[in-house]
């Protein structure tokens, strides 16, 4: 029975708003965190490997796999004809993406067969022995050349309109137009794609998949096997990084493993080599942006007409929503009174591009920022001044191109505080003075803001489920539909549960995502993980708490309002009962100690036909200042200092959120600087491993890196504990690096001309821009 104490004064460990360490940190540092390739393999596990096509656009006229079949250790080979169900993986059900290509190679590196062998090495060696004949056709790997060749769209384009852009452009005070190329990006998750399938009885199969979207894996595997979803169970404990690259791209591997597992009735694992992973899976979309803008003499935009064309690859995948999001974000923080925005999701003869942190938002935003930069150079102003002139207003000038009203605008305060804390104005003066000396080295500085819309634009994805059990001993089992890819989602959701029950976080066991526990989940994507799953888990806790309160009230004869969850105890009238003790009693009194929680985001709606609605529940804001130095002889550069102020609402976990901001920034910086995808004349990607594809190193991190969370911010909307999403928004803070590099380049022509620096700004692009401006 409980102690008769009035109140426990101690606090729980790991409650919300505390900088709790990642729940797997101990396992990460000891190497004991289990990834799929580390799992004990069932006896007799087979290994699959993909055979890739070697033409960018061709008919496969013959495929001789005899040598593959006869190679040592080989059990069998799968081709398109061996897919028992539908040979399609399209996440939007457009039937444009085969598990294994049938008679056509749609890009250089497309999987055309799979070989199954006793060991991975046997399978990999055997896969090289195929003899494939092709009838080649002309190919276009580049978005501009695809447009010129009249290639089709892979999905319906979107148009957003507000006001009358055409008329306003015709009567512009000032007008300019231009174009920009923005490169793609490989995810370079450290753990590559992997799946292991274990056959069960009847049509059942269990798939261990490194995926951000277990429910989709489940549906795709069922579809490929020609069965129904209840036969397939997908299990995901953790990923070694995802970044969007495991939203749909795991489908192929899971499907092949499952098909082989059922066919040979043995466990089958598939893990491509890093090169094949990078060649055969989709990436961030490259964009070509064409803009035509009207602006007044203060730099205030009067009208914008812009076309965002994307390299989508051979199939639609998620290119529709990705290109939509580019349009949703090209306004960034700026009011566009007259605007027409059009997307062009171009088919190209390349791998099908896919989700990547920001999901088209970064490209849209970068195009919009280029417009600001152009206006600033044309008027001889600091781009920051032009930005401020265009910021969305409070209560006026606040309608987006998609007709959502910006109700939670805090960009003015964010920028004002950052400008102050980073000493922006004085440092800009110093940069100008440094450059005025005319040396080989030049500096640049830029302050760029971010406003990012939070919610899936496909409204129905904004739902989540969770499953919470309390066992008789008071220990808690937590499961939810989100996936852990390093972002600390499990930690945050456990913090919510700890807070709900007021128990130490150690009481809670976080368990692997499993489609058998929580069904019909959405991808852990769009920064929505903790917003959705935190709410769903809280809902499950509330249900159990309500039962416990009812039980305690009745059993101890106190009014329900006198039952309260206090640190590791339950206060029942004047009694303080240890949590586990109350649970034991509740069990014996047959109280249900398990609940399935659910959440759907309120307020949102979106009509794609009219281009109007409220696609986003709220916006997350942030800003950064970057200062860089370039070498005008070689184009080499260095990021000297970066200051960031990021809005995460009322942070669920400031340590994890800080890590997300730092990591996103550096990843964004990589995208805009050294990460370059390069296709040769045969349409073959040649930057497909870390030896050729260069992501940032520790020594590329900004030399001085000051990152702050806006601790005064709170979400205006009723999100989980008033926090805000953090996964994607800070990625776009890196835009200030590109603009600072641009300013350094502009100095060689005394800032008379916008350098029109394309991304990624490799040393080569910097030097070429310097050369161009010097010649001009």
């Amino acid at each position: 029975m409980g102690e008769t104490v009035t109140r426990s004064s101690s606090e729980i460990t790991g409650g919300v708003h505390t900088p709790r360490r990642h729940d797997s940190a101990h396992k990460h540092v000891t190497g004991s965190a289990e990834y799929i390739d580390d799992m004990v393999e069932p006896a007799g596990t087979l290994h699959a490997y993909l055979g890739l096509s070697e033409r960018a656009n061709a008919i496969v006229t013959s495929m001789d796999l005899e040598a593959v079949r006869n190679a040592p250790g080989v059990i069998g080979v799968l081709t398109a004809a061996d897919v028992p169900g539908e040979n399609d993986l399209s996440p939007t059900h457009r039937h444009d993406e085969p598990v294994l290509a049938d008679d056509q190679s749609a890009f250089y590196g497309q999987p055309i067969f799979a070989v199954i062998a006793e060991t991975r090495e046997d399978a990999r060696r055997a896969a090289t022995l195929a003899r494939v004949d092709y009838e080649e056709r002309p190919h276009h790997t580049d978005v501009v050349s695809a447009m010129e060749a009249g290639y089709p769209h892979v999905t319906e384009p979107l148009q957003l309109r507000n006001g009358d852009a055409e008329t306003a452009l015709a009567s512009a005070t000032n007008r300019l137009s231009g174009e920009m190329r923005i490169g793609g990006q490989d995810h370079f998750y450290l753990e590559g794609q992997i799946a292991m399938a274990i056959p069960g009885e009847d049509d059942e199969v269990t798939v261990y998949s490194s995926t951000q979207h277990p429910s989709e894996i489940q549906h795709m595997v069922a579809q490929a096997l020609g069965t129904v979803s209840n036969a397939v169970t997908v299990h995901t404990r953790r990923m070694g990084g995802g970044f969007g690259g495991k939203e749909t791209q795991g489908n192929q591997f899971a499907a092949i493993a499952a098909i082989a597992a059922k066919r040979w009735n043995r466990a089958v694992k598939i893990r491509p080599d890093r090169d094949d992973d990078m060649i055969a899976t989709g990436k961030r979309h490259d964009f070509h942006v064409a803009y035509d803008v009207a602006y007044d003499n203060d730099g205030r935009i009067e009208a914008l007409d812009a076309v965002f064309a994307a390299r989508c690859g051979f199939s639609s995948d998620l290119s529709g929503p990705v290109t939509d999001r580019a349009l949703f974000h090209c306004d960034n923080c700026y009011f566009l009174p007259n605007v027409r925005l059009r997307s062009r999701p171009m088919k190209t003869d390349t791998v099908s591009n896919t989700a990547f942190r920001g999901f088209g938002g970064p490209q849209g935003k970068l195009g919009g920022e280029r417009v600001i930069e152009e206006i600033a150079y044309a008027l001889g102003k600091d781009p920051l001044e032009v930005r401020k002139a265009n910021f969305y207003g409070i209560g006026e000038r606040n309608v987006t191109p998609y007709h959502q009203v910006v109700e939670d605008n805090i960009i003015h305060r964010i920028v004002e505080e950052l400008e102050e804390s980073s000493n922006y104005q004085a440092r800009r003066e110093a940069v100008l003075a440094f450059n005025a000396a005319g040396g080989v080295l030049r500096k640049g500085i830029a302050l760029t803001p971010v406003k990012f819309g939070i919610s899936f634009t496909a409204t129905w994805f904004n739902q989540a489920g969770a499953l919470v059990h309390i066992y008789q001993d008071g220990s808690i089992h937590l499961n939810h539909g989100g996936t852990e890819m390093g972002q600390g989602l499990n930690t945050k959701v456990a913090q919510v549960v700890a807070d709900e029950f007021q128990v130490d976080i150690e009481t809670i066991r976080i368990t692997a995502t499993n489609t058998g526990k929580v069904p019909n989940t959405s991808a852990t994507a769009a920064s929505s993980g903790s917003d959705l799953n935190g709410m769903a888990a809280a809902n499950a806790c509330e249900q159990i708490k309500a039962r416990l309160v009812a039980y305690a009230s009745e059993h101890f004869g106190v009014p329900e309002e006198q039952v309260a969850f206090v640190p590791n105890h339950v206060q029942v009238g004047n009694q303080l009962i240890p949590f586990h003790e109350l649970i034991r009693q509740a069990y014996t009194h047959r109280v249900q100690l398990s609940a399935a929680g659910f959440y759907k985001t309120p307020k949102i709606h979106w009509n794609r036909e009219t281009g109007q609605g409220r696609p986003f529940f709220y916006f997350a804001y942030g800003a950064s200042v970057s200062e860089v130095t370039i070498d005008t002889l070689t184009g080499e550069y260095h990021v000297d200092r970066v200051d960031i102020l990021q809005d995460v609402g009322k942070s669920l976990n400031p340590a994890i959120d800080l890590g997300q901001v730092q990591g996103a920034f550096v990843q964004g910086m990589g995208w805009l600087t050294t990460e370059e995808l390069w296709w040769d004349d045969n349409g073959r990607l040649r930057t497909h491993a870390p030896s050729t594809y260069k992501i940032p190193l520790a020594s590329d991190k900004p030399k001085e890196f000051n990152v702050e969370l806006a601790n005064w911010s709170t979400n205006k909307e009723r999100t989980i504990r008033r926090s805000k999403a953090v996964g994607e928004p800070p990625f776009m803070l890196a835009n200030s690096v590109l603009e600072a590099l641009s300013m350094a380049v502009a100095s060689v022509a005394d800032y008379r001309e916008c350098p029109r620096l394309d991304a990624p700004a490799t040393p080569e692009r910097i030097l070429m821009a310097v050369d161009r401006l010097k010649q001009a």
Binding site: G31, E191, G240, G241, R274, G486, L633, L697, A698, T762
Partner: protein, 493 residues
């Protein structure tokens, strides 16, 4: 052939002495750990030595005694581990689960997110902590050049590393057992040749350099494997067979560095790491170049001799060595011959090396007093990248300021590392001034017709090559024209 041939490898894995008679020449340390020992803390990220997820420490008895160094297990062959001590992530925490100070710092400072790169980062930092417990930010960044992290942006990891530098390493397991392990490794190194046959061919570890000569006479088609930073990729990426494979990393005789009045003689088996001190001391900017070759794991494995012997047009050591007038000694059987290094490179993929012949040593003449020298590397990413262009400049001015001698050598500009003779000629006898330098820059067009590839376009290669001469000129005039991440003395050229 020595008196005794051993048919097993012997090494220490964490706390256990391993006798391994069942090994193929292409078995990597990573596969051995993960597939055969189920030590799955060591991860495969790229299988080419660039990401560092597979970092382990290897302790070896070199010229300086037992030294533990970080290496990439993915491209390290088990055949190269005879008489070594392999230390994996599983060796760090105490049996009772208490974390090692390096691990604890990573937890305390939120240094892991997805966790996949983390064991490798812990091992790299552990290697640093053993060697330089109080490392500064620059040294920490250098240590982590070979470790990619895609999640954290590195800030938290660097904070952890700086915190780790506050804890004392004297009680650490590997420091406490240093003598015992040294003794044990010395005992395992019995001087015998190791020969192991497997279905995929023969693994040979010669007992001495003389024995190496004999082995290569017997197997002139054998693959000589030193640091395996190149050969490793032949296997992991191209699935080439390398049998018979001759592992020479244990031959301490090939790892000697000797210096006299005339210059430095370096055995072909000297690693980049071991060469650093001797080369960076007397030759301006060589240290800066050296720190940008591969990552630390690659510098711990790769050898100067290997970089030369493989004849890559983009190797980073030939341009400066050619500019310095280095000479190469090759050995076949017991006979040696010495040639100018620049004559070794005949054409793309073709070197002046006979079957059965191996690189024995390289001689680097002392830079004469008064000669100016600089080497510059241009790459997409500053560190751990392959050169788009690597240019080395050596210049001698007469008392009146005219160019007496110029020797400029480049990587990335032709099928082999090559001198820019037209540019040299355009300058010799001329005043060393800006106008003449700018005129000479145009002569590069006659020297080189570079390629366009994913590292750089032909145009960029040509432009930067010209501009590097300009940079060299400006630096000789005392101008600071290079970006320095960490404050250093200005280039001495």
């Amino acid at each position: 052939m020595p008196d005794t041939v051993r048919h097993e490898l012997r090494f220490i894995l964490n706390s256990e002495v391993v006798h391994l008679g069942d090994v193929s020449p292409t078995l990597t340390l990573l596969d051995y750990l993960r597939l055969r020992r189920r030590l799955t803390g060591t991860k495969e990220g790229c299988a080419e030595g660039d990401c560092g997820a597979c970092t382990v420490l290897v302790g070896r008895l070199g010229p300086k005694g037992l030294v533990y160094e970080s290496v990439n297990a993915c491209i390290r062959f088990v055949g190269s581990l005879d008489a070594c001590h392999v230390v994996t992530i599983e060796h760090l925490a105490e049996i009772n689960g208490n974390l090692h100070p390096v691990q604890q710092a990573m937890v305390d400072f939120h240094g892991s997110q997805c966790g996949f790169c983390t064991p490798g980062i812990v091992m790299s930092l552990y290697g640093l902590w053993l060697e330089t417990p109080k490392a500064n930010a620059e040294r920490i960044e250098k240590t982590l050049q070979g470790n990619l992290c895609r999640c954290t942006g590195y800030e938290a990891i660097l904070n952890a590393a700086e915190a780790m530098a506050q804890s004392d390493n004297s009680g650490d397991k590997l420091i406490v057992t240093h003598e015992a392990i040294s003794g044990k490794l010395a005992e395992l190194r019995d001087g015998n040749r190791v020969e192991i046959d497997s279905p995929s061919g023969k693994t040979i570890v010669p007992g001495s350099v003389d024995d190496l000569g004999a082995v290569l006479e017997a197997y002139p088609g054998a693959t000589v494997v030193a640091g395996s930073t190149d050969v490793g990729l032949w296997v992991t990426k191209h699935m080439r067979d390398i049998a018979p494979a001759v592992f020479i990393g244990n031959l301490v005789e090939l790892q000697t560095i000797s210096e006299d009045e005339s210059g430095i003689t370096m055995g072909a088996g000297v690693t980049y790491t071991d060469a650093f001190e001797a080369l960076s001391r007397g030759i301006p900017t060589m240290g800066d170049l050296w720190d940008r070759i591969g990552g630390e794991q690659v510098r711990n494995m790769g050898t100067v001799g290997g970089n030369i012997a493989n004849g890559s047009p983009i190797g980073d050591t030939p341009p400066p060595l050619i500019a310095l007038g280095a000479k190469l000694t090759l050995q076949k059987g017991s006979a040696t011959r010495t040639i100018d290094l620049e004559d070794f490179f005949i054409d793309y993929g073709k070197q002046d090396r006979a079957p059965g012949e191996f690189v024995r040593s390289v001689f680097i003449p002392k830079l004469p007093d008064g000669d100016k020298f600089a080497v510059y590397k241009i790459s997409k990413r500053r560190d751990e990248d392959i050169s788009a262009v690597c240019g080395a400049f050596r210049l001698r001015l007469s008392a009146d300021g005219t160019v007496e001698n110029a020797r400029f050598a480049f990587g990335g500009m032709a099928a082999t590392p090559t001198r820019a003779k037209a540019v040299e000629q355009a300058l010799i006898g001329q005043d060393w001034n800006e106008a003449n330098v700018e005129r000479a820059m145009e002569a590069f067009e006659g020297d080189f017709t570079p390629l366009t590839d994913w590292r750089a376009s032909a145009r960029y290669r040509m432009m930067t090559t010209k501009n590097l001469l300009k940079r060299f000129y400006l630096e000789t005039q005392g101008q600071a024209v290079q970006i320095a991440r960490h404050q250093k003395a200005l280039a001495e050229a």
